[in-house]
Structures are given as C-alpha cells and as structure tokens.
Symmetry: C2
Subunit: 358 residues, 2 copies
C-alpha cells in the first residue's frame, strides 16, 4: 500500500541529533531526555475529552485522532519523545484474532489460542493491510513532531500471554502450563509472534518511527532458567530481524531485576528498567547498553517533594555515564497530576543541563 522509503529522507540527519536518539546511542547530550510510558492517556484532560467521544479502538483506527492523542503529551509536558498511541494487542486482528476492549478490564479475546490447532490457524501478518491507519498516524506524527517518534510492539511472551489467557494476566498461569505440558505448541506460538512482531515493527519504522520499544511486560513471572531457555531466544529473533534498520531497540519488562543479565544479550541496544531495582546495580549488568527509567509511578501520587527527591536519586546514579533516558518504571497512573509530570520533565532537564554545562 505504501511506497514510501523505510526512512523519510527529509531532515533525517538532523533528527539523529535529537537528544533522545543521541542518548539511546550513548552519545553526549545537552541534558538527559525524558518521556513517560503511557504519557498519552487518562492523566491528560485533553485525552479524557477525546475518550468521551471515541473508544480506544476508534482512536487507533483514525489516523488523525491517533496522531492528535500521540502528540498531546509532547505539547503539554515537554517530553523528548512521542510514542505512538496503540495497544499491545493492536496487531492481533491482523493474524485473525479478534480483540474487544472492556472498561476496567482491558483487551479481551473471546476465542483464546490454546492448542496446536489454534496456533496453526493464525493468519500471516500483513502490516499494510492490517494496521494501515496506525502506520498513517505514525506518518502524521513524524511530520508534525519536534521530538523523535517511538514505535512499539508487544514481545512474543507477553503477546502470547494475552492470546492464551484471553486477557491481561500477570501470573500467566495458562501460558506457563502450556510451556510445561506442550513445549512444542508454546514455541510454535511464540515463533509465529516473532514473525508478526518483526513485520509490525519494521512497518512502523518504514512509516517514520525512529526507535522501537518492545514491551515484555509480563516476563517478570519467569525464573532466569525459563527466561533464558524459553523466551530469550524469541526476543533475540525479534531484535535480529530489526537490526539492519539502524534504529535504537528498547527492551522493557517489569519485575526483571533477576533477568537483566540475560536481557543484556537480547540484541536490544537499550534496556528499560522498572522501579524495583536500583539503576546503578541494574546498569552494571548491561555493559555497553543504554538504560531507560526508572521512577516508581506511584511516587507521583504524593507531594512533589518526594518526586523531586527520588528523581534526583535516579539522576545521581546515572551522572557522568552516557546513555540514560529518564522515564517511569511503568506507565503513568491515571490519577497523576499532569502539572507534576511537567514539573518532573523540567526538573530532569534543568538538573542535567546544569551538570552538562558545569
């Protein structure tokens, strides 16, 4: 459907010098760049206004609306990245899996994928056909955004968790049972999702995304033994399939403090940290990589003094080391005050600019 080149030519060289992309490549930056997972969302009144007239699925299907929502936090918060507004399950209809969104539950799959036959029935994924509105939204954002555009996708294990459980499930009990009892089916499913994820992420870069973040949100349920043998090989195949694109590749999961030394060899060039690990200890396990994180999102539900104190702690741990992008350790919580987010962005910029200038 699209005949555009994989990387838009106009301004490409200049954009490589934007702070986020320099930090992701561990190059010197004038200040530490910052963005927030779920920065486009319920914490912003302009987003809630959109949601009064459109559901989640509507937004993702409407390129102009999707671009608008994606850019809202760039304007209001002054963050250094725009991350395309989509759901981890957005590509699933493209492989023949219907998803509906249920308030207070999230995405629900009424016909879960649980058997070898279910896996065999999954359709091949064609991004141009399946996620054309999202790709168009990325083109719109790229054309308008003063900051880099991050594309994202769910990692195979986390996507498989949705497919097998039928909904968000932190414990992933059914998926673990599948791994134990039918490892062939488990690996067949994850392999299919590797192919889907590579095609999906490549299409996003083709449309203008300047970095890709892979969300392996549920991977923290695994022991290092299982992660290394059952999941990491699939993550490696995803990143290997994106390596030639020459964009930063971010791997994020929660509860990964015991897995970081394995994620170090995933092929990611940046590892996102949740808040339950010290940045310094974590980074020591990730030689040669950039890191992103890792303020506890719940701190933002309290007074700003506490936010400032913990943000300083995180920045101090990264001081003098190239390759830190400030973020929360997980998504912005809906009751967060957007003014506090704005103040946090300013704090990160000012504190680290002073340091860079010193």
């Amino acid at each position: 459907m699209s005949t555009r080149p994989a990387t838009p030519a106009s301004g490409a060289l200049v954009r490589r010098d934007l702070p986020l992309l320099r930090a992701y490549r561990r190059e010197p930056v004038p200040f530490t760049p910052v963005w927030f997972m779920r920065q486009a969302g319920r914490a912003l009144p302009e987003y809630r206004a959109v949601r009064e007239r459109a559901g989640l699925a509507d937004i993702v299907r409407d390129p102009a609306l999707c671009a608008e929502v994606t850019l809202q936090p760039v304007s209001r918060l002054g963050v250094d990245a725009a991350i395309v507004f989509a759901d981890i399950t957005t590509p699933l209809p493209g492989i023949g899996v219907d998803v509906r969104f249920v308030e207070a539950v999230g995405p629900v799959i009424d016909a879960p994928v649980r058997t070898a036959a279910d896996v065999a029935r999954l359709a091949p994924f064609d991004p141009a056909e399946s996620v054309a509105p999202l790709l168009e939204a990325i083109r719109l954002v790229r054309a308008q955004s003063p900051v880099p555009v991050i594309g994202f996708a769910g990692a195979p294990f986390t996507l498989a968790s949705y497919l097998v459980e039928g909904r968000s499930s932190r414990g992933a009990a059914r998926l673990l049972a599948l791994l134990r009892s039918e490892p062939g089916t488990f690996h067949g499913l994850l392999s299919r999702l590797v192919d889907t994820t590579v095609a999906y992420a490549r299409a996003q870069v083709g449309a203008g995304a300047e970095a890709i973040q892979l969300f392996d949100s549920w991977v923290g349920v695994l022991s290092p033994w299982d992660y290394e043998r059952a999941v990491l090989p699939h993550v490696r195949r995803v990143f290997a399939g994106l390596a030639d694109l020459d964009v930063p590749l971010v791997l994020f999961g929660t509860g990964t403090a015991g897995l970081l030394h394995l994620q170090a060899s995933s092929g990611a060039t940046v590892v996102g940290l949740d808040w339950r690990v010290g940045l310094r200890e974590a980074w020591a396990q990730l030689p040669g990589l950039a890191v992103q994180g890792n303020l506890d999102p719940s701190v933002l539900l309290g007074p700003f003094d506490g936010v400032a104190e913990q943000a300083a702690w995180i920045l101090d741990q990264a001081a003098g080391l190239p390759g830190h992008v400030f973020n929360l350790g997980h998504g912005v919580l809906p009751p967060t005050d957007p003014d506090d987010l704005r103040r946090l962005v300013d704090l990160v910029h000012h504190r680290t600019a002073a340091r860079a200038g010193a």
Copy 2:
C-alpha cells in the same frame, strides 16, 4: 496463661543438630534439608479431607487439628521442617481487627485500618490471650515432630497491606498512597505491627518453635529507595526484638531481586528467595547469611523431568557452600501432585548426600 520455659529443655541440644537448623546456621550438613512453603495445604488429599469438615479459621482454633494438619506433610513428603499451620492474619483479631475467610479471595477485613484514628484504636497484643490455641498447637507439634518446627508471622509492611487494603492486594496501592500522603500514619501503623509481630513470634518460640520465618510477601512492589527508608527499619526492629532468642530468623518476600542487598542488613540470619532470581547472584548479595529457595512452583505442574532439571540447577549453584535450605520460590500450588513433591524431597536429599559423601 502458659508457665512453660521459653525453650523446652528436653532434647534441645540434640535438636540443634537436626539438618534444617544446622543449615540455617551455615554448619555442615549430611544432605541439603528441604521443606516447602504451603506444604500443609490443598495439594495433600488428607488436608482436603480435613477441610471438608473444617474451615481455615476452625483449624487454627483447634490445637489438635492444627497440629495434625501441620504434621501431614512431614509424614507424607519427608520434609525436614514442620511449619505451623496458620494464616498471616491469625494475630489480627488480637489487636481488635476482625478477619473472615472468603473462598477464592482469602482473608477479608470488613473494617480496614486507614486513618490515624484507626491506628490509635488498635489494641495491645497479648499472645497468651489471643492465639492460645495456636501456641498449644505448636507445643503439640514440637512434642511429636521428628523435624524442627518453624513458626511464622507476617512482616509489618505485608500485614499493613492487609489492614489497609482490606484483603490480599499485590499492588498495595492504598498502602503506598498512605505512605506518600500521610507518612506519619504509615509509620505509626507499621510500628504497632512491629510490636505485635515481636510478641507473636516470641510467643511461638516460647511454645516450641525452633526458627521464625517472617513473610514480607508484598514487599516486591517497592523501589529500593522506599524499601530502605520506609520498610527496612521496621523489619530491623522485628529481628532486633527476636535476636536474643538464638533461633534462626528467616526473611522471605517475593519480587525482591532488587532489594536483596538491603535485606542483607535486616537482622535476618537466613533470606528466602523467590524463583525470579538466580540463587548464585542472589547469595552473592547476602554475605554471611544462609539462603532458602528457590524452585519455581509452577515447574511442578509439568513433567517431573523438568522439576529434576531445575532442582539440579539450583543445587549446583549452592554446591560446596554452607547454608542452603531447598524450598520453592513461593507456596505449593494446589494442583501439585504430592507424589512429585515426595520425589523432589528424595532427589534433593540423594543428590546432596552423594555430594557430601564424595
């Protein structure tokens, strides 16, 4: 109520040489001792038979029945410890907080403790008055058990989570909100729970418990920053209040891979590991302490080959180091086959006895 001495005199010296207590003290052992969290419970048919005629609360109120249930896994599985059958909320009625058990939910507190006034209303805890049946059960178990008896209690943060949330809540969102918005109330509540926990654990040792395990199950939601400042001081006060008893003090939590270096200075003599961290990397952060763990309980839902493989991986990481007690990384899952648990006990014993003899 009781006039018995703090440590039963008969056989006390001999019992100190039981493998569990030697391993907890990092002394040489003829084989690696093993027990399982939730070893008394739904995985055992004899427990399910008891539950057909008695609820959880009934068991804890009936010393003979409680002792029977506590000893069931010792007979059937051949484990090296008996852990008293109780719930983390068992002492709460003793401070004026009513708890009821709801099937598939767990303990529910209809009048949660959420304000400074609620905290002020908590009653002083008198173990002899509040948990006399449990203490009598410990005496019965101690008299009958060929293996050491472990007493246990919830740690202040995890107990507070039940009190504030009103039920089991992994995210502990309300408790975190209290920490952020009313730190005085938060610390007042945890201080009261320190006093309760010290008195409760001392009473268990007085009744015959030969080690104490403190469960801080929900502490894995915290950043190292908050753990160190808001929670660890309370844990230290609990262990300081037990130090003169000269029994092993075990600290267990889940999701603690990023907190272990802080738990090292908690006053615990043993740290329990969940399955989401490699035993070797974890132990390196716990100089001078014993460790307990850390097989993923979900592995036992698959073929025994997988259990044997991962158990060997764990034992190999501990080989040659004094102070390892084998356990699961969390409680036995109800669908687990007790024959597999028995085989696992035998495997741990035989593999490590061969090594000790080599």
